[in-house]
Symmetry: C2
Subunit: 346 residues, 2 copies
């Protein structure tokens, strides 16, 4: 004891002891329960008590301990946001975080390198008793079930899960690809190639198969389908392969904007092709760089803000009522008629 107080006296940089609701109660001359109620929306506290507590709170600089609150209420104000490293629009995470914050929720961010790292993520978010999960990655059905059993609301973004009833908001990939294919065909393109994203990416698979199907309907068989990863370099290499192939295409449908940008750069700067005179290139996403003057992509813009808002609305509704029925919301994309492809006049 003596030693301890000596230490305390000699150290000017003593750690500030956190203020608890008991400290506030003592200062205000009320019970600890009253202090707690003060911070509980809708709890009954008289105006007089309220005033005393407010004063003490300000004087002591009290902030309720969210950890203790979560322990007793068995639910935190944390929302897990799970994204893939190269997956979605980077701005997506940012917008989502800000929207959550505006609603009093905090963002626990998980960035997956491979979608298979999900095991670890699921453990973590369960350990923290998150209030909900927004996932822009594919989660194995096992994990979806686990969350549902534990009544942790889950909303997918751009992952439809046709086979399982899950909440999701997405952009209509098929419709978008149909629009792109129709535009290319209407402008007379017939030698059309497709650059796919990674084969384990559901988004890529859906876009590629929708495009291929629409082409088939139009009686067009893709001259080639090249698989790449969702990177700039992947786009460049895909373009190189296509140019070296037996039948050079006159139009390329890329599974996303990043690939389209890579294709364009390779076509122009390595192969000396003019766009769209020699070759047309279209993407998908509506990402910012795709709209830069150097690219000016023909693409499908996903309504990111709408999708984020919808996802959060759905999540909040299910945090309030975990029994709420499953819902899938699908937004149309928006055709951006840029200059990276030769299109028919309208």
């Amino acid at each position: 004891m003596a030693r301890r107080s000596t230490q305390a006296a000699s150290e000017g940089t003593d750690k500030a002891k956190p203020v608890t609701s008991y400290d506030v109660a003592r200062e205000a001359g009320v019970s600890q329960s009253a202090v707690s109620r003060y911070f509980t929306p809708g709890a009954s506290v008289s105006a007089r008590t309220r005033a005393k507590i407010l004063k003490a709170v300000n004087k002591l600089g009290y902030q309720p301990n969210a950890i203790a609150r979560s322990l007793i209420t068995r639910r935190s104000s944390l929302v897990a946001v799970v994204v893939a490293n190269l997956g979605f629009n980077p701005e997506f995470t940012s917008i989502l975080g800000q929207s959550l914050s505006a609603r009093g929720l905090n963002t626990l961010l998980f960035t997956l390198d491979h979608e298979s790292d999900a095991d670890h993520v699921i453990d973590q978010l369960w350990q923290y008793r998150v209030a909900g999960v927004v996932a822009a990655v594919t989660l194995p059905p096992r994990h979806v079930d686990m969350l549902s059993q534990r009544e942790i609301p889950l909303v997918f973004v751009n992952r439809a899960y046709e086979e399982v009833p899950v909440n999701s908001v997405s952009c209509d990939q098929s419709e978008g690809e149909r629009w792109l294919v129709d535009e290319l065909c209407a402008a007379g393109h017939r030698r059309i190639a497709i650059v796919s994203g990674p084969e384990d990416s559901p988004v890529s698979r859906q876009r590629v198969s929708s495009a291929a199907e629409r082409l088939a309907n139009a009686g067009v068989k893709p001259v080639e389908i090249v698989v790449a990863d969702f990177t700039y370099q992947g786009g460049r290499e895909a373009m190189r392969k296509l140019a070296a192939g037996p039948a050079r295409p006159d139009a390329i449908i890329c599974a996303n904007d990043m690939l389209a940008i890579g294709c364009m750069d390779e076509a122009r700067h390595a192969l000396g092709l003019r766009i769209p005179e020699d070759i047309s290139i279209v993407g998908f996403d509506g990402s910012a760089p795709g709209q830069w003057a150097s690219y000016d992509l023909v693409t499908i813009r996903q309504p990111t803000n709408l999708m984020v808002d919808a996802a959060i609305d759905m999540l909040m509704a299910r945090i309030d009522d975990p029994q709420l029925i499953t819902e899938k919301r699908v937004f149309s994309g928006e055709l951006v008629r840029g200059a990276s492809a030769r299109l028919a006049d309208t």
Copy 2:
């Protein structure tokens, strides 16, 4: 009671009750303390007990409750990552999150719209008793003090705080700008303009003043300094202003890559200038788009991976020992001799 059990019997979708360490203890036939020790690295548990617990853990699917653990240990495994909306490299957040995760820490992400939203952020991260903070934004001294008093380790990234002793890791902005200025001058540029970022951005201020100073040393007075925000559009508008100005520059130093990209697009696509024949443009950051073939920027590449690793090392060391003395680590950038500027041969 009767009502409750009736309900339970009639509802097949009953919420799975979370498993606690008491459940595991009962199942394993040991005390709850033993279970707790099992999950405490270095705690003494006999091999026999360990085996019994492991079995029960697997059978019940037990996961320790991180919230309860944080309450008692008074520290969570959460690290707050505070970034500005348009601030740093978007990949930075991603790399940081993954590095933290690899060290068993979770990321609580705060995206600030204006650096003034910091008040709210500080409250939140304190309420969650985060183990540490990595900030890529400027925090008012008041907040820095608050964290230090509460012994929450704080590391700034690219915010030097000359006046206060704080931990920071940064890229040497001045050195980088000196290199760029020297390269431009050596190649004979004399009519040099500067495109600055927002005036409340310390990063921009430091880059601009370093460049201006080095130019002054070389006897060159900038033909103009234009202020823009750190966006593509900002770059385009800045270029437009410069072209309309009295003395068109033959070289432009931009406060970051994004501005340089905007300038290049405006110069080429709106003004019909050739780069670097008609005008040289340099940036700063080493961002991915700056390296795309359409831009191929002359810029300074910040060693993002090194900086993130250093920041986490510093943070971890201070989580282990909060008294550890303050340290500033400054890394050199790397000159990228791209094709966006006419440079002297070496």
